[in-house]
Amino acid sequence: MNPLPTSSLRPTHRTETRAFALVALLAIAWVAAYSAILPLAEWLTYDVLRLAHGSRLGESVAFFLYDLPKILLLLSGMIFVIAVIQSFFSPERTRAVLSGKREGVGNVLAAALGVLTPFCSCSAVPLFIGFVRAGIPLGVTFSFLTAAPLVNEVALVMLFGTFGWQVAALYAFTGVTIAVISGIVIGKTRPERFVEPFVFQIGASGTKTIQSPDAQPTWSERFATAWQTTREIVGKVWPFIVVGIGIGAGIHGFVPQDALAGILGREAWWSVPAGVLLGVPLYSNAAGIVPVAQALVSKGAALGAVLAFMMAVVGLSLPEMIILRRVLKPRLLATFVAVVAAGIIFTGYLFNWVLR
């Protein structure tokens, strides 16, 4: 997020205006496309393909043709907006805000910033070391590291698109809460003992010379970065979405109502921990899971188990654990996993209880 001091390439007032005009134009096109999805899907299913209303195949095809463009449009639009918001937050600024904060307030702030600060899991180690060296308490650092993957922007958009804003909001809120509590619990265990010693031995930087990190990007730069992020994320997740919606469509048309209430329903107490256990070794994509979840829920499954599964998939991924092992001794890593898993299980039950 550090813009180069490209004074010679700095956009003029005119390019700024043009960037805004382009975004406005895209927004209008987006709204037009979004409102055309439903009539288009029905026309294709019932008039072009001549499938009967209410038939199994008709239901499945209509669902697929409606849901796929809807989700893809929602994802592109919302990821763009989220990426523009994220351009106001950088790990460097987050660190500056968090250094000097005590535990408690620091944990809450760290969890919130973990959601808003863009960072990829491959940067977990430099972030960790950078935070520790800035004197940020380990518990606060963990709140940040937990919130970032747990409240995943793709998952958030998918939940919003398929289950509505209440479920999306509850997901974000519980994710932040888990991150705050995990960080506080870990902070209480004197975790410094279980950090690899080299983290503390790295000398102070004498060579840090990145130019003017305070220089804010211009709006056209924010839009350009957001556009690139959107293309990257949508380009990566669309196959998962196609497969997920495909499976979901099949379930919608062909699985009878209430078929799953017994196995995956609210009454089966073990479905939530089972979801978490299944989720950890899987490094999949939330994008593909949500449409399947929606179909399962409409057939009687409980939402909590499915969401616990999804949070485990994104929040407790094995690759991330392997990366963090470079700086954390096994015992601290195990504590981290246990605390987060407990939080996710709790969330699963909470969802089952709230969303009946």
């Binding site: 550090n2 990829c120 180690v125 840090k208 990145i210």
Partner: protein, 80 residues
């Protein structure tokens, strides 16, 4: 000869940045020597929070993203 260091544990973005540096340098005719720094203790001397970090002639110029071709060309220009 410009010395370029790509700081990162070897993730996909680090490789892409390295390739982009080489490609643009070849295109505009600047000789560069690309060094990959994968040791965290070494990487953290530059205090980067996000990889890949990019160091040109001992100066950290970017972190956490892949520069565009124009930006790379702009960075390499002084060596022309």
């Amino acid at each position: 000869m410009l010395n370029v260091k790509v700081l990162g544990s070897g993730c996909a973005n680090c490789k892409r940045l390295e390739q982009a540096m080489q490609r643009v340098a070849n295109a505009i005719g600047v000789a560069i020597e690309v060094e990959k720094v994968t040791d965290y203790a070494e990487i953290m001397k530059w205090d980067v929070l996000q990889t890949p970090g990019l160091v040109v002639n001992g100066k950290l110029v970017a972190a956490g993203r892949i520069l565009s071709d124009e930006e790379i060309a702009w960075l390499l220009k002084p060596a022309l």
